[in-house]
């Protein structure tokens, strides 16, 4: 009898009720990212505290203003990302397309500006410990921006091909969460490396 029941209805999947699987996945992702960035920040603070020199090491100077403008660009891209998702939730396809396109362009501007900054900064990763830490931290973040741009590119192309509706917009929501996370990490990197 039990076999007949199973044939008609597959048994209910057994899973712990403590944490929802998707929430657990996001928790694990955040935890792994915190550990990754945490290890680089540990090195940064160790080098900065243990080095008996001013920060950054003379004669080098960090382009605080350019990086500040880049920060504004990246934070603005979060607003356009949020706008894109709110637009599709209201059925506004033009708003979705414009929001995603702007987000992608702003993100690309950030990345290109950072590459330009690298080429003109005057030191290299092998120059000294300060240079290594600087390129590692900002480069790690830049890699995250690149991944975010790839996700945004897919979402933007799909938006222009007519995908996503008021009810089905998971493909915008997930890149949005990732993009905001990348922005949060940049705020931390910019404040600690460039400002303080």
């Amino acid at each position: 009898m039990a076999a007949v029941d199973h044939a008609a209805h597959p048994p209910i999947a057994n899973q712990s009720s403590r944490v929802d699987a998707r929430t657990l996945g996001m928790f694990l992702f955040i935890a792994s990212e915190i550990m990754l960035f945490g290890s680089f920040f540990t090195i940064y603070f160790f080098v900065r505290i243990s080095a008996d020199t001013p920060w950054p090491t003379p004669p080098y100077e960090l382009p605080v203003f350019v990086a500040g403008m880049n920060t504004i660009i990246l934070v603005t891209s979060s607003f356009t990302m949020h706008w894109a998702l709110q637009a599709i939730k209201r059925g506004n396809r033009a708003g979705l397309q414009a929001g995603l396109s702007l987000t992608f362009l702003l993100g690309l501007t950030f990345l290109l500006t950072q590459i330009l900054e690298y080429s003109r900064i005057g030191f290299a990763p092998y120059s000294n410990a300060f240079g290594s830490v600087f390129f590692c931290l900002t480069g790690l973040h830049g890699a995250h921006v690149f991944v975010g741009l790839t996700l945004l590119a897919f979402a933007t192309i799909r938006a222009f091909r007519g995908h996503y509706t008021e009810d089905e917009h998971h493909g915008v929501e997930i890149p949005g969460i990732y993009w905001h996370f990348v922005d949060v990490m940049w705020i931390v990197v910019y404040t600690t490396v460039y400002i303080l």
Binding site: S17, R18, M26, I30, L85, V184, V188, I195
Partner: protein, 207 residues
């Protein structure tokens, strides 16, 4: 802990909070290094306090899963640990089970110390809970009550929720020590269970 990246909207608000937090620290730090440190400490404490205050209790479970048993079967979920073999509890279960076609599931939460819980050292707690459960099931059988049992999560509310997902209970019996001796009563387990679960909950005190 609430996950700030659960949805795009929450992630966006988290970003705005991060911008404000770090902007305040950076501005104070540029003016004076010690001012930056003070702002950092004050804001961190404020954020921690706000998070602590804004924690919401788990939403009520308004419905139990659909029962897969035969029509007319009444299901009783019993949650007890140290009092699982108590005379008052056995009498109550016997009384409830005597009313027609009844199925009883006894769950004993594997109570553990916080340190052992953090270290995932639960084997001893589960073994002790299993021992009490076996004794209780044997006592119920001696009284003519057919019951099954399982060891549950150390948190009694979580143990109830876990059990409800596989055992669609019509009633829940929670057994505790008397007021003043019961850790579960001090933590408001019975009250919280009544708020969270949309089934009748009986509280049995075992002295």
């Amino acid at each position: 802990m609430a996950n700030p990246l659960r949805s795009e909207g929450e992630a966006f608000r988290f970003l705005l909070g991060t911008v404000v937090y770090f902007a305040a620290i950076a501005i104070a730090g540029v003016i004076n290094a010690w001012a930056g440190l003070v702002v950092f400490i004050v804001l961190t404490i404020a954020v921690g306090w706000w998070w602590w205050r804004s924690r919401q209790p788990a939403p009520p479970v308004t419905a139990s899963p659909v029962k897969s048993g035969p029509q007319g079967e009444r299901r009783i979920l019993v949650v007890a640990n140290e009092t699982v073999g108590g005379e008052e509890l056995l009498q109550r279960i016997e009384q409830l089970a005597s009313q027609g076609n009844t199925r009883v599931l006894v769950v004993t939460p594997a109570l553990n110390s916080p340190l052992r819980h953090l270290a995932s050292d639960e084997d001893r707690a589960r073994a002790q809970a299993q021992e009490r459960l076996d004794h209780s099931l044997a006592e119920l059988e001696r009284h003519g009550v057919q019951a099954s049992g399982e060891v549950g999560d150390g948190d009694p509310l979580q143990a109830i929720e876990d059990a409800l997902r596989t055992f669609g209970a019509d009633e829940i019996v929670i057994s505790t020590h008397p007021e003043g001796q019961s850790n579960w009563l001090e933590r408001g387990v019975v009250t919280s269970a009544r708020e969270r679960y949309a089934v009748p909950i009986h509280h049995v005190v075992v002295d």
